[in-house]
Point group: C2
DNA sequence: TTGATTTCTGTTATCGATAACAGCGCATAA
DNA sequence: TTATGCGCTGTTATCGATAACAGAAATCAA
């Protein structure tokens, strides 16, 4: 008991005793057992973060933002990689809960993640979703405005004269994919152009998916003049397919996508993108979660939609001779 | 007690009772408390993994490999990001130990990490180092053969006629940096060329560091004809500096580095690199650690050095008119 | 029928930290 | 002298799962 008092810096311990205890701790390499502490207080000071792909450079700042915010509040963050696999994601959720993390920050693998998340919510377990919403699930949420971003990217392409714009997206099982598709469609319709289902290519939103979808897009006759990839890795896959066909950006094909990634931007400084506030996504998500854990947030769920930035580079060329206008850049 | 028996699938429970218990578990959303289980058994079935930078694409497969191996053995992996900061690294180590992870897999931030790692070893706590060794620390270890890789990269440049080869590396506080510098030096001396300290640029081994070091290298007179960057991010920084000076690879400058990263390779298909078996680094490290946790490994420490692959692309041009020989590629 | 055995379920004690409280010694006040 | 308070340290009970064992009911053997 006295040892416990010393460790936790409580008052009521003689200075002499305190010194003796500290000496003993030093001599024995004693490390207090947080497992036991967590058991009695049911406070593990730990949050869980599940992302579909730690290897995706978009998630690096998300993780970083969440971690910093958690640390500042004296919480640590357990990071798990669901690999976009619903089964694995469910396993991790159960695992983290049984380890008594005090709350979960989840970037869901897909719409079906709701079956894993809903039981948590029903129990009143603190959960915050980031990056992707789940259908029919009234949960704290931090996302960026995908539809608006997609509209801006598409408008940008339209303003440069592009009419046949291919869109590479996922199999309609994420809110981000749906919203970006909606933005794409709205921009087309706003310009009085028809929405063509044959220009929408559904695939896995990674390098290989982008590669294959682009191959299909290039097989169209006439070939589209622009490609709007739903995220960075899909765009990289598109680059690969284009290069193999001897097509270069922006001369033969315009290419735009979501997510600005520093090292990709250096290597392909021509890519026009929508930049999401990834670090903010993570830190705001963690903040909402911490509030909920502390019981400071009411029963109502909070939905935060962050605005995005259009960064115009050189990847869009011009179809009808309309020149590139660098002043369109809205980069900060 | 009967509930415990049902959960753990022990025998000696009536079928009827078992069904009732399972129904109750379902109805109550009951999740067993691993904290309590860990307390009594002191088996948390958890390993810790500390890496200096989760955002570095090199570490993504390392993490993945370690995670897969841990999972297969019924362990989970807590991932922590030390950001190359010794203080943060030390904090995470203490944190994970007090959470009673059963072993630690550490990619150390730098040589000074030994002050955090040594006390663990003294206590007999299971630790395995990956990617980087620590001086005077006799610890299980999985690294790749940096010196040999650096020799091959340098030999490749020499064989193409390059003589003034700049080397971008860190401030001599990681084993990988030292070993790569040694390989570079040995290759030069093997070719009868002097080792020139003025061609070695010490910096932080990230994008900004590579950028600044390259600016310095380009200020030399005569300018080097080749740059050997110690890792992928440093090379990306070099690309940025080169482009700003209007220099392109390989026409004006050869560029080689360690680490092959898929999406970077797609965007810069000219980069000649040493490919480290990153996933193997993670999975072998986890395997050694699991053996040590299980007490299956003796007191002697095991040191595994993995061989690397030279992947020749087009980034090295030729100074003296020696043509590129594509058959030099040793890609699998 | 009675003791032995098997099958099943419940009790007690334990892991380590700590909340709540008990107890001891000493000092000051009445 | 006795009562009251304060400062310090130790005891007991607790968190939840489970090992070890105890006990109850049913079955079997003699």
């Amino acid at each position: 008991m006295t040892v416990s008092r010393v460790i936790n810096g409580r008052s009521g311990v003689d200075e002499e005793t305190q010194r003796k205890v500290e000496a003993a701790i030093e001599a024995l390499d004693y490390v207090p057992n947080r497992v036991a502490r967590g058991l009695i207080s049911s406070k593990t000071q730990t949050l869980g973060l599940i992302v579909p792909d730690v290897a995706n450079p978009f998630f690096a700042p998300v993780v970083h933002g969440a971690e910093m915010t958690a640390r500042k509040a004296g919480f640590r963050l357990l990071l798990c990689n669901s690999e976009g696999d619903l089964r694995l994601e469910k396993e991790y959720i159960e695992d983290l809960v049984s380890h008594r993390v005090e709350g979960l920050l989840i970037a869901p693998a897909g719409d079906q993640s709701r079956h894993s998340v809903f039981p948590l919510m029903r129990r009143g377990f603190p959960v915050v979703l980031i990056d992707r919403a789940l259908p029919d699930l009234d949960c704290d949420l931090v996302v960026s405005d995908s539809a608006a971003g997609a509209r801006r990217l598409t408008d940008h392409l339209l303003s440069l004269g592009h009419r046949d714009i291919a869109h590479l997206t996922d199999a309609d099982d994420t809110s981000t994919g749906r919203e970006r598709l909606r933005g794409y469609r709205e921009a087309l319709e706003g310009a009085g152009l028809p929405f063509r289902e044959d220009l929408v290519f559904r695939t896995t939103v990674d390098l290989i998916g982008g590669y294959r979808a682009t191959q299909q897009a290039l097989a169209l006759d006439p070939m589209p003049t622009a490609i709007f990839a739903v995220n960075n890795m899909t765009a990289v896959g598109a680059m690969k397919a284009l290069r193999e066909r001897g097509l270069s950006v922006p001369e033969h094909m315009a290419l735009v996508c979501f997510d600005d990634v520093e090292h990709l931007a250096v290597l392909s400084p021509f890519l026009t993108v929508i930049d999401q506030p990834a670090e903010t996504l993570g830190s705001l998500g963690a903040q909402l979660l911490l509030e909920r854990v502390a019981g400071k947030s009411g029963p109502r769920s909070r939905r935060i939609v962050l605005q995005t930035d259009l960064i115009v580079r050189l990847s869009c060329g011009s179809v009808s001779g309309v020149p590139l206008r660098p002043d369109q850049s809205e980069e900060a």
